[in-house]
Symmetry: C2
Subunit: 601 residues, 2 copies
Amino acid sequence: MSSTEYQVDRRELQFVVNETLKAGKLCELPDFAEFDEEMFTMIINEASTFSEQVLGPLNENGDRQGCRIENGSVVTPDGFANAWKQLGEGGWLSMNMPPEYGGQGLPEVISIIAKETQLAANQAFTIGASLTSGSANLIYTFGSEEQKNTFCEKMFGGKWSGSMCLTEPQAGSAVGDAATSATKQEAGHYLIKGTKQFITNGDHDMAENIIHLLLARTTDAPEGTKGISLFIVPKIRIDGTPNDVKVISIEHKMGINGSPTCLLSFGDNASCHGYLLKAENIGMAQMFQLMNEARLLVGLQGLAGAGAAVQNAWAYAKERTQGPSAIHPGEKAAIIEFPDVRRMLMQMKAVTEGLRALMYTTAWYTDMAHHGPDESREKYQDLLDLHIPVCKAFGTDQGFDVARIGIQVLGGVGFTQDFPLEQNTRDQKIASIYEGTNGIQALDLVSRKFTAKKGQLLKVLEQELSWFDNHAPEDELAGWVAEWESYRTLMQESIAGLKKIGEEQGKDGYVLYAANMLDLMGDVLCCFYLLKQADSAQQKWKTLLAEATSQAKLLEENDEAQFYWNKLRTTEFYVWSVLPRALSNAKTIKNANLAPLNACL
Amino acid sequence: MSSTEYQVDRRELQFVVNETLKAGKLCELPDFAEFDEEMFTMIINEASTFSEQVLGPLNENGDRQGCRIENGSVVTPDGFANAWKQLGEGGWLSMNMPPEYGGQGLPEVISIIAKETQLAANQAFTIGASLTSGSANLIYTFGSEEQKNTFCEKMFGGKWSGSMCLTEPQAGSAVGDAATSATKQEAGHYLIKGTKQFITNGDHDMAENIIHLLLARTTDAPEGTKGISLFIVPKIRIDGTPNDVKVISIEHKMGINGSPTCLLSFGDNASCHGYLLKAENIGMAQMFQLMNEARLLVGLQGLAGAGAAVQNAWAYAKERTQGPSAIHPGEKAAIIEFPDVRRMLMQMKAVTEGLRALMYTTAWYTDMAHHGPDESREKYQDLLDLHIPVCKAFGTDQGFDVARIGIQVLGGVGFTQDFPLEQNTRDQKIASIYEGTNGIQALDLVSRKFTAKKGQLLKVLEQELSWFDNHAPEDELAGWVAEWESYRTLMQESIAGLKKIGEEQGKDGYVLYAANMLDLMGDVLCCFYLLKQADSAQQKWKTLLAEATSQAKLLEENDEAQFYWNKLRTTEFYVWSVLPRALSNAKTIKNANLAPLNACL
């Protein structure tokens, strides 16, 4: 571990993916039959090395140098273009994409590793990459054969990049208010006219072409979201001529300065060609279909930032001395000796590993929903749909908070640019906003997911959460699970209570504390998945302990033992020192105070 | 209110200072006999205008332009030098300082207004100013007549500025590890040699001279904090010759870029003269004596940042439209219509006003402790000592969080430099670190303040918190007070529980969750002082309502009624939707999980 660089915690990733989620078992499914666990391990290592050696070293300069516009085009920080080339050629853009267009066809739960490590190494660079994957996936899912043949392979390989053009200056979260127009031409294509804002990688110098996936309204389209269509709008037309797309400006931001956030003008000279994706007026539905993947990726930005922060803070706390040591008389104390520093580090570690357990499991649900046995696909899709807003909103809020604590662990130097914590914190702040603000995620959770299919999603979750009924926890774990069960009950009561509030107070009352409901659920879920991990860790720990002469000696000499021991301590800490936050959220929901609606704002 | 500028909420300040704290009554004390309430009101207005018109406009450029070193000296952002001149000449540096050296001798509770508004308008500029006040105050308190005559008036008036040189690269929070040496010369002065880090306003171009108050070790001084002495070290000696103080570099930071944070070298050429303040080896005690004032000021940075954030977010939420309005059919909705946005704004407002109630009351305790009737001075000093770590740590953590929520209210534009929220958040982050990290504040609270004088401070607090026993709350307030009382009991139980944990687990166990104890106390105190405010507001509201034809009409037409109504809603929100956080802290303390001490870190 290093206080200034990012190094992948390979041991933790191996544990989560292979030892607890048993990703190897996915290879029993026909779609993943060509893989095995050993290959997964190899991929984890390769992905880690790429992130550490290629992306990490560009992170700091990406922030300091930032992006600029020169001669009407965006210039990215030094080294970004070269890294992009390696990203594409290494297949990192299309790990989970179908092999027919050059993708690797890997499970989501393996693909997520590469994404986490890339984001942890360089948030600004990687969020742009995820938009290329996302837009390529839209074309793969909805495009004609010709469109797929034209775009997919080039985008999977990074030769061409992608962008998502949803937001307009007057329409942020209200996507249905988009005013960009698309007028059908006799030749079959559409003429696009409008302005799009906050377009990540909307222009740059890293790929040969940029393929914009753009929402626009066709002539006489219905109002609102029902009249939105999705178009492919290349920066350069397939025949090599420019396509009347202009970058007007880039944003000056709090963070992700290495990522160009563009204001784009389409059709200034009435010659911007767009190609309809499938059919008119289904753009919102198309976006929704790939929303889960996009939102998990943004949640992952929180996890990745948190993961990097823990490492940096942990390493610093071990190397920084301050005052006399109570443990080693005559020496100076490393600040990691101090209880308050240890508490902060454990908070960071517990939340980070809880988020990882949550998100990697959600990735596994994705695999099972898309590739698992037919009879269980609906169940996993339900779990996936319910987990996504939690991954996105809880993940990004908690990730930011973990980085904030990291600054605090470092003290004065944490506030300086000499250490990566402050940039990490700044870079992360956007994640609670884009891809549906966290407030919108909370609305999605309580208004859509709780009520979908007459509450079926919640029923499926309850089944999943009763896992320990059939896996009786042993020793100290029994007490932790019992404690967690009381919070699980609290969550159920809060859901029921919220429903009642809605019946009595109407819709505004129902959604007023949706954010608290989401946070409550986030803690209960993270802790649940950590407890499942602890169940595995406990077995391994007990086996090692049985063979050891003493616990102290074992912990001193055996890294594996230390890993499992710490996993248990981390879970324990989550149960007794993090989970109590759920009490606060449950009480707030129960109190259902309507002052925000009654105040004169 | 404005989404991009800072405007003082004069109505709120009047309410807090004159209507609830009854600052006018302080004029009955001999030390403040020359003032009256009308003068206080005038000063509130003048201070507000200065902050809005002089400091606010320099805030954004101060961040973007930052400081630089040119020819061995620090150059501050455009306009800062001129603003400094006005600050000094306007008497804003010495509002609460004694008139004999040009101070205004005002109560702390009035002085705090100027400081809050200055910090809210421009954090980077103002934190430097507070160090001039602080170091001048040290000289005034401990200096010889000659020293006072030489330095005080010039520093009170800003002609000369001050800095505090405590931290050294190898000694951050462990001040006792300071290695800078002071060697006594026959002429009476000392030769100073050493390096000081993180020195705010350690060098700049705003004043004619910089007077460093510096901690150093004299020859043969005892080890640790007992061997630290305090010296006056001017940048330019009184005879006009340079004093061998060199600025080596300035920090590149996350925020407060307009404030030069210097690495200073003293005595490179063995000719740095320092003048002892009072006596050798009492430097730490001297620092401690003025620590309350300094820590309240840093807490105030959190309050000020929060106050500015609420305004900006509130104004933006009223002007930004998005989607169709549910209230005004056919129109677009201002985002302030949305429940989640209203919840966020109320959270920001409730916490900010809670912090203001806490800190202004603490300022009033300062006045009573220093200038009140002799028989009650000890009581107010006890309250002051107990409140200070809460003001500092809870204030800065909550202030940062309020600004963070402000970014979220704005959405995408909140992450850009087009609005002041992101800078506000960055600027604030340092406040949880300097002047004793928030972890150290928590230690101070539970290890020093709880145990001082055999627990006397807590007893005095309990008396203070039983205020409602003699002021029976009416109507809806009765229910709020009853609810708050249950949290007050919880706080008492947590304090008792913590003591028991200490007895069973030793010192490390006792301090492990000190931060939770401090946060729990912060919420209980903020809510208490808000409830006292609500008691005043309720009287006024009822009077206005009795004369009105209807509540709806009153709220629509009468700004005063709206103010009192909102104060009640804000208090209500704190009780039912913020205070529940205390449950989480209480449970964590009670659980007393030792995983952080047992993990292999």
